[in-house]
């Protein structure tokens, strides 16, 4: 099982028919997951993105997720100002985010590593819209293609944003947000519990295996992303 395929399928399963879902820049896996969901179980999903197109039908999926290609066959424009207002009104269902660090409470750090924000060990890119969107969107889906103890920490060194985390999808497992804490929901095929525990900075309880992608899901994935843009985040 290819990890990129499995993560795309897991992310797509987080989406429900009729929802409004948004992804930002540098988000190939969420982009593929949204296209996959629309082709399988969620045909009426409303797809929104950083560039501001609405339900585009790109002729090819671009590696940059703010590419003008995402304006192909879009019937309307809904720019970031509109999107932020939509979320502020409580009308955005799903937003995809990630973090250089993600902690047990589902808080993300995209700002700075180290104890002193003014003099950080590493200055990170910044939170973009996350501090607005995480607390205001109905559900937040986090994903990260790296799962180790530098990434999944007990407590982030700086809270860029938090709130409403529903699922976290990694190369090893899926976490579910429950009462403000991330709990292990499922472990991917060919991964052991101790591998996940060793790569995670807090104590986990055992969980069942992630259901394998179906033939229908894999065929739809190939149809929406024949160029394997989903592999970009794995350095391929």
């Amino acid at each position: 099982m290819r990890t990129a395929d499995l993560m795309a399928v897991c992310l797509s399963r987080c989406l429900r028919d009729g929802e409004r879902a948004f992804h930002g820049v540098a988000s190939p896996l969420p982009m593929v997951a949204i296209m996959l969901a629309k082709r399988t179980h969620a045909p009426n999903l409303v797809y929104l993105n950083t560039g501001g197109s609405v339900d585009p039908q790109p002729s090819h999926l671009p590696a940059s997720t703010s590419d003008p290609a995402l304006f192909h066959n879009t019937p309307a424009m809904f720019d970031l100002l509109d999107l932020f207002d939509l979320s502020a009104r409580g009308e955005l269902d799903v937003v995809f985010h990630s973090g250089i660090q993600i902690d047990q409470r589902g808080r993300i750090n995209l700002s700075a590593l180290g104890d002193d924000y003014r003099r950080p060990k590493v200055r990170l890119p910044g939170g973009a819209g996350s501090a607005h969107l995480m607390p205001t969107a109905r559900r937040v889906i986090l994903w990260r293609t790296r799962h180790d103890r530098q990434t999944f920490v007990e407590s982030v060194s700086f809270v860029t944003a938090q709130g409403n985390v529903d699922r976290v999808v990694t190369p090893l497992c899926v976490f579910k947000g429950l009462n403000g804490l991330l709990e292990l929901e499922s472990i991917h095929p060919d991964v052991t519990f101790s591998q996940v525990q060793d790569a995670t900075g807090w104590r986990l309880a055992k969980a069942p295996a992630t259901p394998l992608p179906t033939q229908i899901e894999l065929a739809a994935l190939e149809a929406v992303d024949p160029d394997c843009v989903r592999d970009v985040e794995f350095g391929r």
Partner: protein, 149 residues
Amino acid sequence: MPFAGFAGSDLPKVSGFATMRDPYGGGDVVVIPPIRPDVALIHVQEADEEGNLRIYGSPYEDVLLAKASVRVVATAERIVPRQRFVSQPELTALPGFLVDLVVEAPLGAWPTSCAGDYGYDKAFITSYVAAATTQHGFDAFLREHVLGR
């Protein structure tokens, strides 16, 4: 101005943003001071000699940025006749009275993309990423491509 987000974030604290009680009963709200840039530099596909600007594809936050700024300098792929704007004024992203300077600059967005005109130059950006991994490489890149010496 009030801002709906920021709940649970450390950013208001390190940014010095105040929290107020919503006078209309909505609870606590973070309020942000205005950002008033001295100059906005934006690139568009079409401009006329009065500074009317047309943007194709996503405007991102360029229009907001321009309206917030004291002065606006626009670079444009093409200078077109005023009549083109008059024929469809609803497509004008920014009226000329808000624009201080227009510079005709074909390929002005390169190496990033300009919707309808060209895509991003992946090879060039990749070469920059490689060069920027060392100070020496970064300096050489800057000399060759930016400073032109």
